[in-house]
Amino acid sequence: MRNVKKALTAALLASTVMVAPVFAAGTLTISSPQDPGNWDPIDTFLVNWASVATNIFDGLTYRGPDLELVPGLATGWDELDDGQRIRFTLREDVVFHNGEPFNAEAVRFTFERLLGEQGAAGPQQSNYVAISEVEVIDDYTVDFHLSEPDPVLLTKLAGYGAMIVPPQYIAEHGEEHFDNNPVGTGPFSFVSYSPREEIRLEAFADHWDGAPELDNVVYRFITEPSTAVAELQAGRVDIVIPPTIPVGMIPTIEAHEGISVVTVPSPTVQALRFNTQSGITADENVRKAIIYAIDRQAIIESILGGEAEPITSFQSPLAFGYDPDMELVPYDPDKAMALLAEAGIGAGATLQIDVRGNDSTFNEVAQAVSAYLSVVGINATIQPYETNVLINDIIPEGRTGEMFQQAWGGWTFDYDNTAYLMYHTGERWNPYDSDPELDALLNGQRSITDRAEREAMLQEIARYTADRALEVPLYNVNAIYGVSDRVENFEAAPDSRLRLTRVSVGE
């Protein structure tokens, strides 16, 4: 009886799957690994929110796949009063999807909402606290008054919490309605949303940058990489966006006709950070020995199939603050053993590496690291955690092993965004270390508006952390997209924020 039921369910499932894939002309289907669950810009910090929402909303500035900052809803801006005031000239004749006009009032509303009570409940507010007031000069001119200069502010206005939202629409329908029925000025407007299943968008013909080529876009939320790739192979999905496809599946996609892999260097960097407070890694020499003991180049060439770049500090080479002259610590097991002997660590010392259990590629990397450490006499065990447990409990509460995985996105491509949160005393991501000298450097660079001077300071911070061996900087991974051949004009975005205005689909 039970078997009969099973067979029936299987048949039912099979039949629904068969019915689904009928492509309307000009419909693009994208597989995204995560449903953010809330489409309000001030309620999220997830990159997979942005990969959808960058098509619904616009910011005052815009940053595309080339990472250049260009005008968005603002056509131009001037820095006044030594960087304490920024005057934006707004684009005219722009409308929201509901027909409401975009003007200075919408900008003021957006930022008052972000910096007020509504914003305080979400994770975005802290990125924009430098803004003290938004003053409306006339319908198409606004002044941003800053409590202190923020060198990264213009970049931050191109994404996330700074997306311009419609004041009348929110006043009419309420905050809760807006969470699941987003309205912006972007090239696509919201159609429908089924939690954990899909979100549908359609072209917004009145977009200020011209109507999109596509008619419809469907984002399906598929967490399991093999399912996403199978759907891509079957033609039911056109693009699989990162972070879905593990390096190990690249050959699977390449071997299949009609689909291909597109990779591009991303802002995501991986490091194994140290517990600098207890265990054998409290000793700087031991930390240095561990860095010497790991052959990062070999790991990148084999396990990562070359889809990564070694890094010298915890930032991507694309980031502002990266020092191309810093040298990579070479693989040198003899030196590692000498350092360990100097620190009085004999063969058989143990340490634990905490990793995200669902990151299959990094699990392989961690096991390779464990093998390299065994060569110099350190016995490393691996403790996998559920990702949310690791980043919300284990790391902030300082309950990690001697080493732990830290993956970092840093979408602003500014080292300040990483370094301050990783190294400043008392920060959530820094449960172990407190270094007054490093704190002073981190605070110092924040008030400097001169780009060259600030870049030099950020590079000094990077060198300082390398001198103290605060982490094993591993690599900067490529963003891996799986793309069907029917997709045209596709340009892979390093930060997964894929704007689809010019993309089209063939037959």
Binding site: G248, M249, I299, I303, S360, Q367, A371, Q383
Partner: protein, 291 residues
């Protein structure tokens, strides 16, 4: 073959059946015993514990390199060594958790069945509650609260499995305690503990042993699924479920990573089930054990 009369048909049938039973026994011993032996010898065969990483030799296909007969995984580790060593975890979990469940379940069943009354109520209602909980829900809750790892996995399996033994034993005790030999022992004033140990326990062991063999096989499968879901043991220690999970990414390009541990699970479970079947027919010919 020479039988022609109708009357000799029955014994011939019996003979065929027992031959099949013998085959069951031989196959069961060969499979379970062979794998058990290989795992027991793994300390001698692979002193490095299957940890030797060779990134240059990663993803070698099987039968291509005599040094890696069954190929290598994404870190260049030998699959053959890891499959055999992986058996340590699977067999340890299977055997230890079954033993634990048997000890607790038999004691609980004896108490409930022999003393009846409030003991019976408490133990059996507890067992009913336990049986109403789906295993995966229990597993996820349990591991979320006390964490993963080898010992915790074993504890989880004991907690979820003792009930079947308690029920089996209680049922048998209810029948046995009314039998003459037990009644007469009570009449002449033998202590309860002696009745339980000398008269009841030996008469229960047959069905319990049968259930055990099948339970070991079942627990090996459960451990593999738990590790596959990332709820089980440390990934540096090879285990069959863990290897299956690791190989999932490579299923279309390097099938051997997950197929061989899968085959190992299949053969072990098959061997144990054959042995269990044979034991049931030998120890419990009336088929009282219902599984």
């Amino acid at each position: 073959m020479a039988n022609s009369s109708a009357s000799s048909n029955a014994p011939a049938k019996k003979l065929n059946l027992s031959r099949f039973k013998n085959l069951e026994f031989v196959l069961g011993i060969l499979l379970a015993g062979g794998i058990g032996l290989a795992v027991a010898l793994s300390w001698l065969l692979f002193p490095d514990g299957g940890r030797a990483v060779n990134l240059m030799a990663r993803l070698t296909p099987p039968f291509a390199d005599p040094a890696h007969l069954l190929g290598t995984d994404p870190l260049g580790r030998d699959i053959l060594a890891r499959v055999i060593i992986g058996g340590r975890i699977s067999l340890t979990v299977g055997i230890v958790s079954t033993a634990g469940a048997v000890i607790i379940g038999v004691i609980m069943g004896l108490i409930a069945g022999y003393y009846r009354g409030i003991w019976d109520m408490v133990v059996m209602r507890f067992a009913d509650i336990q049986l109403a909980l789906p295993f995966i829900l229990l597993a996820i809750t349990f591991i979320a609260i006390i964490g993963g790892g080898l010992v915790n996995t074993i504890i989880l399996l004991i907690v979820s499995q003792w009930v079947q033994y308690a029920r089996l034993v209680r049922g048998s005790v209810l029948a046995l305690r009314e039998r003459e030999f037990v009644q007469s022992a009570r009449a002449i004033g033998v202590k309860d503990i002696n009745i339980i140990l000398r008269h009841l326990l030996p008469n229960l062991l047959g069905p319990v042993i049968v259930l055990m063999t099948i339970n070991v096989a079942n627990n090996i499968l459960l451990e593999s699924s738990l590790t596959f879901l990332g709820l089980g043991v440390d990934p540096t220690i090879p285990s069959w479920g863990g290897m299956l999970a690791e190989g999932r990414t490579y299923l279309q390009t390097a099938w051997w990573i997950s197929v061989f541990p899968g085959v190992a699970i299949l053969l072990t479970v098959l061997g144990l089930n054959l042995l269990g079947d044979w034991l049931r027919d030998t120890l419990d010919p009336t088929g009282r054990t219902r599984i």
